[in-house]
Every structure is written in structure tokens, then in C-alpha cells.
Symmetry: C2
Subunit: 285 residues, 2 copies
């Protein structure tokens, strides 16, 4: 912050040096932007927009796709989405990517408000008419720190109930799945913690704060380096599916259309190459 | 969602069976809650509140701290905060933890609105009067996929500039630090991507989408399993510090006071035990 301010001050001074009229004024310790300054700011903004447009147009004339691709994804989607994007972005250098990682409620909100081209969710929104591409299966297991000693003589129910359970926040699909599982099986759960983001839950489980029901995809490293262990519990794993969805009513950009084509063509290959351990994962009895 | 709905239906039916008067009515496919249902709902809510209060009181009479501890932390804080909490939570079984992981702007917002007891930030908010405990140093390095072949004859500047750079979203302290670094050193950066959450950036770098400036603390596993590599760039690492802060004006709860005491006593030990590799990390020239 401090550094940024110094930098801005220097840049502003350099910019001012090019004009004979002040762009800013300080009156009684307050900073004002006089009319001249405002007009220069407007003009500068227009110039920048034109520069961006020229960049995109140049690429388009060269036969390259260009512009912005905006995707909103659920928290656990960060473990899969980049791998379904990297080939496409490499092929199309003119594409700028904005990817927002949040929870199910916010993702569906962005889609509904037409703020994004695509959304990655595991639960399809009922209210909206959407098209979808099913990307991958998402399996959720009961996960504990590897340092937790498992008493062999406990029933699976007791095992599940003995440790504090870490929950995701309201509005998260993982949270909903966990709550349904608990209610359906009549487990009683000691809920002590509520954390946003799947990665926060992971760090909390490793640190010994409690156990949780977590997507396999996000814990590959931690299973192999023995930070975490999966504990078999009746009724688990839960299985959902990541779907890339978009509004049926949306007029898709050329980039969005090209991305759909890319996915349909490359999906199976990407899954095979990037996620072989997830598909082949078996929990020893 | 589907599952949750079934569960709710069954539970509602069981609940209704205990009353001779309908709690809900369906008129022309619309669900209505008549006055009797509303009164029962209010009463049930009051009962639940009392049950929670009894739980807390019971613990308090037994000399145990009880109640809620609410913390809002910046995205990169998820790699450190759980380790500074686990000992405290284990010692105080009556404490419920809510931890929100978001970006700097939102964290400072929660603190200002008095929605949380503590916030974990790397940049202290200028507008607010806060107390702080410095927890740990945060070092940011230039990070690339290990599959990226580094051309040995490139200058460090060229090296930095040749790859697309992945940025965090506006309002993130990591983003601010990165932008200041780039401006200060007159690097030109090919910004092609903007992703929320540090973990999303990590996955994107591993998948080959680009490079980024990332906190060392979040990439320990990926450095040792060779998913990622650190590339030496002049002016890096940037170094900031995680601070646990709270409003000077806030009337702290007994739990919050106990937590401050815990941290002051245990801080050094936790850092030594949990993060030895971070403190000892040296980048080979």
C-alpha cells in the first residue's frame, strides 16, 4: 500500500509534466480535480479503450480469436477448471481470462445476472434454463489428519461422530451434500467450525482442528505425503459431477462458442492425461 | 439438492405428526404457513436458542470458555491461521469457530462493521484504529510450472516478461504487491488472467496457464513434488507480514481475550514447530 502510493505519486508527477495546466489542485489539504484534469482523464480513458480495441482487432484480422472469457466457478472447481482451460488459452493468445472462485449461490447469481459466459457447478440451478457439458465426477470422502489415531474397535458411526466436524459455509454445495448425508444416515455430528473455501477446510483438517467430508480431487498431494488420510464411512464417498453450464438464452461470443467446441473435442483426453489417479482411485477396505 | 429436499419433507412430516392442527397448507399448489404454524416456528426457534445458551452456560459453570470466535482472513491466510488456532480450540472445547476466507477489502470491511472478533491481514488498514499481533513473515516469489523450460541465456527481466502473468483480483493485497513490484522495476507484464483465490492461481500455474508472484507458504508441497519451481527475479522475494488485528474500540469477549493470551504465549513455539521450512527457505542462486 505504502509502496503503491509512492509509485502513483511519481507517475502522476510524470504525467503532469506533460501539460502546462494543473491536472490536480490541493486546496486546504483537500485534493481537487479541476475541469481540465477531468477532461484529460476522460480523454485518456477513451484512448485506453481504443488501444484495447485495436489490440483485439489486430488479432481478429490475423484470424485469431480475441476478447474476454469470463467464468465463475465453485470453490472446489479450482482443482479442475484450469486444466480444462490451459490448452484453449495456449491455442488462442488473444483470449483474456477472468475466473471468479466462490460458492454455489454466488456462482449461480453471476450466471443469472449475465455477468459471465460460463459457470462451473456441481448442482444444476433449478430456476435457470441452462445448457451443460458434464466435465468430471466429484467424489467426497471423510478425511482426517494422518496424525489422528483411529481406534480399531469403534463402529464406523462412532468413528464419524467422535471427531469435531468442519463445515463449509452456508450456500456451498459441499455443505449441502454433507448435511444431507448426515441427516439421511442419522449420524449425529459435532459441528464446531464453519470455514469458507475448500482449501481452508483442508488446512484446518491437517492442523488437527477436526475432520470433514472433502472432494478427493483437492487432496491428492496431502494423501501421498501423508498429511491426510481417508477414513471409510458407510454411505461414502458421495458422488456429484462438475458441469460447465451457460444460459440457454445467452448470445454466446465467438470465444465462448470456440471454447465449447474445444471442450467437446478435448474433454476425454484432458481427463485421461491430467486426472488418471482420480478415476482410478480405490479405497482399500 | 434433490436429496436434501426429500430429507426435509420426511422431517416436516414427522414434526407435523406431533400436532393435531396443520402447520402448513397447500392452496392451489402454493405452500402457506398458517398462524398456528408460524407460532410453532417462533416457539421452536426460541427453544433452540435456549438449548444453545444452556450448552454454553453448562460449559461456563464447569470453568470452560464457551461461545463463538469469529475471524475473517485474507486468502493466503488459510495456510497459516488454522495452525495458530488448533491448540486453542483443542484446549477449549466450548469454542465454536467461524472463519471467513476472502480478500483484503472484504476482510477490512467485516472488521469495520464489527462482524468479527479478529482479522488476519498483511496490510494494516489505514482508516481503522487497531491493535495487532504480528504472526509471521510472508515471502512472495516468482513461480512457474516445473514443466516450463527456462532458457538459460535470458536476462531476468526478459524471463519475467516472456510468460503470461496470472493476477489475483482487484482488492487483493497480493495483487497490489505484484503491481507495485512491476511498476517500480519498470517490468512490462503480459497480463492475461485474473483469478480470485490464491489456490486458483496455484492450480492455473501448475496447469501451464502462466506464471505468478505467489506466497511461499502456499506452495511447499508443490515445490517438493516438483509441480512448481521458483525462478529468481531481481527484486524478489517481496516480504510482507501476516498480522492478527482487532479494533481498539472493541469490547473483547472472554474467548477473544483468552485467544490473545494464548497467541502471545504460544506464537513462537507454533512457528518453530509448524513452519520450520518457511523460515529456513533459501533460494539457490
Amino acid at each position: 500500500m505504502h509502496l503503491a502510493q509512492q509509485v502513483v505519486t511519481v507517475q502522476l508527477k510524470n504525467f503532469q509534466d506533460q501539460f502546462p495546466i494543473p491536472l490536480t489542485e490541493v486546496v486546504e489539504r483537500q485534493l481537487y480535480v479541476p475541469d481540465f484534469g477531468k477532461e484529460i482523464a476522460n480523454a485518456a480513458e477513451k484512448i485506453l479503450h481504443e488501444v484495447y480495441a485495436i489490440n483485439y482487432k489486430t488479432l481478429a484480422y490475423n484470424g485469431q480469436l480475441s476478447g474476454r472469457l469470463k467464468i465463475s466457478i465453485v470453490s472446489t472447481g479450482k482443482y479442475v477448471m484450469p486444466y480444462f482451460l490451459s490448452g484453449f488459452i495456449k491455442q488462442n493468445e488473444g483470449v483474456d481470462l477472468t475466473m471468479d472462485v466462490t460458492n454455489k449461490s454466488s456462482v449461480v447469481g453471476s450466471l443469472e445476472l449475465n455477468e459471465v459466459d460460463f459457470a462451473l457447478v456441481s448442482v444444476l440451478p433449478k430456476k435457470l434454463k441452462v445448457n451443460k457439458i458434464a466435465l468430471m465426477e466429484n467424489k467426497l470422502f471423510y478425511v482426517a489428519s494422518n496424525k489422528l489415531e483411529i481406534k480399531k474397535n469403534l463402529t464406523k458411526k462412532k468413528l464419524f461422530e467422535q471427531m469435531p466436524l468442519i463445515f463449509r459455509e452456508q450456500g456451498s454445495a459441499t455443505r449441502n451434500a454433507m448435511e444431507s448425508f448426515i441427516t439421511k444416515n442419522n449420524y449425529s455430528a459435532r459441528k464446531k467450525m464453519e470455514l469458507t473455501s475448500n482449501e481452508a477446510v483442508k488446512q484446518a483438517v491437517i492442523s488437527g482442528l477436526g475432520c470433514s467430508i472433502m472432494p478427493l480431487i483437492g487432496i491428492g498431494n496431502e494423501l501421498s505425503n501423508k498429511d491426510l488420510q481417508i477414513i471409510p464411512v458407510k454411505g461414502l464417498p458421495l458422488s456429484t459431477e462438475w458441469n460447465l453450464i451457460w444460459l440457454k438464452s445467452k448470445k454466446l461470443s465467438p470465444i465462448a462458442l470456440a471454447y465449447i467446441e474445444f471442450l467437446n473435442k478435448e474433454k476425454a483426453l484432458i481427463i485421461n492425461e491430467k486426472f488418471p489417479w482420480v478415476n482410478g482411485f480405490k479405497l482399500l477396505p
